[in-house]
Amino acid sequence: MIEQPYRLPTGGLIDRSQSVDFVYNETYYKGHPGDTLASALMANGEHVIARSFKYHRPRGVFSAGPEEPSALLTVGYGPRREPNTQATVQPLYQGLVSSSQNCWPSPRFDLGAVNSLISPFLSAGFYYKTFMWPGLKGWMQYEKIIRKAAGMGEASRAPDPDRYEKSQGFCDVLVVGAGPAGLMAASAAALSGARVWLVDEQLRMGGQLNRETYLIDGMPATEWVANKVQALEQNPRVKLLTNATVFGAYDSQTLGIVERCGADAFQPDTRQRLWLLRTAQVVLATGSIERPLVFSNNDRPGVMQANAVRAYNNQYGVRCGHKTLVFTNNNSAYRTAIDLANSGQTVTAVVDSRKQVEPTLLAQLAELGIRHIGGSAVQDVRGKLSIKEAQLISSDGSQLGESIECDCIALSGGWSPNVQLHSMVGSKPLFSEEHSAFVPGEMPAEYHSAGACTGSFALQDCLSQGAAIGTEAAVSAGFSGMEQTVPSGGEDTLPATEALWQVAKGKGKQFVDLQHDVAASDIELAHLEGYQSVEHLKRYTTLGMAGDQGRSSNVNALALMAQLREEPIAAVGTTTFRPPLSPVALGVFGGLDRGQHYRPYRRSAMQAWHDARGAVLQEVGLWRRAQYYPVGGESIDEAYQRETAQVRAKVGIVDVSSLGKIQINGPDSPEFLNRLYVNNWLKLPIGKARYGVMLREDGIALDDGTTSRWGEHDFLMTTTTANAGPVMTHMEHLLQVVWPELRVRVSSVTEHWAGMAVAGPLSRETLQGCVTDLDLSNEAFPFMAVGEGKIDNVPVRVLRISFSGEMAYEVYAPADYGQGVWEAIVRAGEIHDIVPYGTETLGALRIEKGHVTGAELDGRVTLGDVGMLGMANPKKDFIGRVLMNREGILDPKRPQLTGLKSVNPEEPLQAGAILVNTPEMAAGVDKLGHVSSITYSPEVGGNIGLGFLRDAAERRGERIFAAYPLRDKIVEVEICDPCFVDASGGRMRD
């Protein structure tokens, strides 16, 4: 077998000194570094490599870039299998494994092609009109079959094993596209002193220059590109990114870039990197795309963009056929004929729909012996897996012409500027009759355009415009512009496109969107059925969707719709372009933020101790707190009930480091607290703590906790774990915006102090066994006292406060000593059978005591609802005072905090259950309130809960029902006081 039979003996920018082995459909092939998968397959004579989306028609390579609609392959295998990869942009690498998709058994013989036989029934929107019986359930089954028959490749279902990164980029000028205009723009901006990023989606910078045989300043364009790139690389203020796509443009000049870090998808390091780039100015030099022409069977393998045929010849050294016919409506395709002839290939004819062509072009063809047929068009193509001949017709469709033998048709329907990024920043594309294409409209001041994307197709214009725009962008970014010398690009022939939107129909379908098998007839149908708006057309026919985002199809489709509507194309307009411009792997959006790095995990200073004791952890915001400490295979219920009982009977210790701790300092601190809390704070003595509740401005309870006074102007506030951040923000807002005159500073010291609560009737004895320099007797250190002592010579703060209802102390130690202090307390408590307890027991204890927390203070609750209206000092002002007196908030019919007890003690309650009078869960039943917290109470000997109930105080002792329709569960409960243990508070105080 001849190796690479379609590889030209010389030429191209590939490295012929090295071979690259790759696999396609389980067969080994060879290519060269510098090849794409498409060029390597074509070099090896593989011209039928795909099947189409809907009709399973054979497809080959159509383009040489990201506009490719047909050559979609699955690359990689196993968990790295990535479907729908455009072979035209996939760099070839050693060991690449690829396969065809959407066909069986092979792309050359595909049983799915039976779809072509019933294609008249598969017109646009056919699935909207059929498969309606027997209703939605039927459709759910049909959909699976349709998706299996159509569609593209299948992604791996295994987790993506590759590494993706994200990073932030910053510059003064971003240049998108490294063709002639982009290279000049980057050079000019850099010359002016700007920090420049130049980003190009190809592996090799140069854009169209790599595909052409231009001379710049008398040297081959590729050599000029190499020199330019080298100069930019040596500038430390310039960053060059190749193989990277700017896929989205967002507000404030923030752009999303995906960088494919290596050609090899199996690199051990990073596969792709997401850049979020923030820049002052943007130069879009995004080039243009050659449009196809619409004629019958224009999707056959061998029908290609003229520009792509030129690229494979000039850049990759690959012939696309043995007899090429060029079909065009403009001048640019003549370069294809000339370049092919110059490399020794046969060009059977240049068929031009225009009647008038520049004499110099005709002379060049004549010199090369290439036949020219003017005023004609290709009407139809014969051949299925490869082209046999082209049937011509006069371009006005009036007269059938000859048939010409060929195996490749290089076509050019004109050039469409790439305006997608322009559109994303609000520039509405304008239709240019001159170019028969959309060009960028007015853009934000920070955005500039240069080169072919503006409709400037001549090389010299691109070079000049790039230099000028690069300087302009640098000046706009605040730099003094330095004039960049513009090289000579020589004379260039402008395209001079004469629109030809559709050739007279032949025998086969005239495809407009090759990727989604949308034909001209589908557009006619959409028009006939009233889908005449471009947005409706897109959604009805799926035109312009999928991986190529309609790059090659949009303008032709809009022109056809305009003809049908008998309106100018400008009146039809375009659809809206949105990110991503090209397919982006989801993995790159996640980057390293997956698994253990998905979000931070906050650890207390005692975390290692909890882990060593086998604590089961519970997520509480970003913290993971010990939920319970199972002993000997205990269940969660067994564990927390044991811990709860032990705390009530003896003593327990719990890690409360996650509680918010806010230091408040300054001479106006008492006044600040007095305005913040509903109760009075002006006379709190030093060495004392006080419970307080603060409201939001709208009178709803924000948070509760204790604040202790450690000095004249020195307070320490504790908040709930959940509200640590919001309360701190609230206080900062008040001090910075509302009362800037107060000399008060607040600082989060949550992290400075490791916190632990020691609770139970033997808590005092336990602490007395380890705390020095502080008298903990009831007389010297009564309930709500605070003071400083030492544990094993470590200074600690001790607060005699209780969340459990038992005698209890909170001990705060500098965090690096947290675990040591904890261990010292545990050692001291061993003789009292101290138990560590977790959040589950913490919750059980506070529910038994009737203490509220986030479950109750849920942003809808007032002071009156939780029975604390009496705390509010009516003689002073405080945040929320005015609005807490609104009629609705003072409504006596508002549900109030209540205790609830299962009538059957063994029957658990459900948080969120609705309280109702009757055991029926019928719709429209009168809702009296809800259950907010539940637990099993060893103290009560049954299941209890807290909740909110209308007329709760008046109904104590009555029985109602807690209904939980989601689980079809209803529990009879007794209404009781929310405090289930030690209502007098004696245990805490004595």
């Binding site: 932030q168 290692a608 300092n665 102007h713 500073r745 992290e751 094993d792």
Partner: protein
């Protein structure tokens, strides 16, 4: 006396290269000095005298002297980083009247991770949405930002390839794990001994 355990002391050492050297700065005290708007200048003057480090009140100002640091931490707010055993900050606090400002010991609130090496900036830039280019974020400056949008941090640049990252203690282990992961391609040297 109980032995201090830092947040990162138990993290296993890693040695895969020298692109990024990571160390935990231990036994550092952090004293937060707050002035009132009217007393900022006078408090700063006293602070400069007491610490021996000359800092301006400009946003992002940072001074390093040996292992001591004086850092701008917000309007009329400074951090004095010094050895925990140094009694000077406590003396300074005792001498400051409440009408001038206040001093808080926050020495255990932050873990400080030193990042040195050619990859330091690139690794940090992966998670911080602030321009870390040395001509923009210069040696001798400090910023407050977020790491991966989740973790509040302060970042002090000492020279082109040397940073100190101040992170809340509870986030420290996660942050170090993240840094080790991001730095993998560059080669990393983390010595748990400090």
């Amino acid at each position: 006396m109980i032995k201090a355990k830092t947040a990162l002391g138990a993290m296993a050492s890693v040695q895969t290269g020298d692109g990024l050297q990571l160390r935990e700065k231990r036994n550092r005290g952090l004293w937060q000095i707050d002035a009132w708007a009217s007393s900022d200048e006078s408090v700063r003057d006293k602070l400069v005298t007491s610490s021996g480090m000359r800092i301006t009140g400009e946003r992002g100002a940072a001074v390093a002297h040996g292992e001591e640091r004086l850092l701008w931490a917000g309007p009329a707010r400074y951090w004095w980083i010094t050895a925990r055993s140094n009694v000077t900050p406590a003396e300074f606090a005792a001498g400051l009247q409440s009408k001038e400002g206040c001093v808080i010991d926050m020495g255990h609130s932050r873990s400080v991770i030193s990042l040195k090496g050619s990859a330091a900036q690139a690794v940090l830039q992966s998670g911080i949405a602030v321009d870390l280019e040395a001509s923009v974020f210069k040696p001798g400056q400090i910023i407050a930002s977020g790491l991966t949008h989740h973790t509040p941090i302060n970042l002090h640049r000492l020279d082109d390839e040397h940073f100190e990252l101040y992170v809340y203690r509870s986030y420290a282990q996660h942050t170090l794990e993240w840094l080790l992961e991001v730095a993998k391609p560059y080669g990393v040297d983390w010595d748990a001994r400090g």
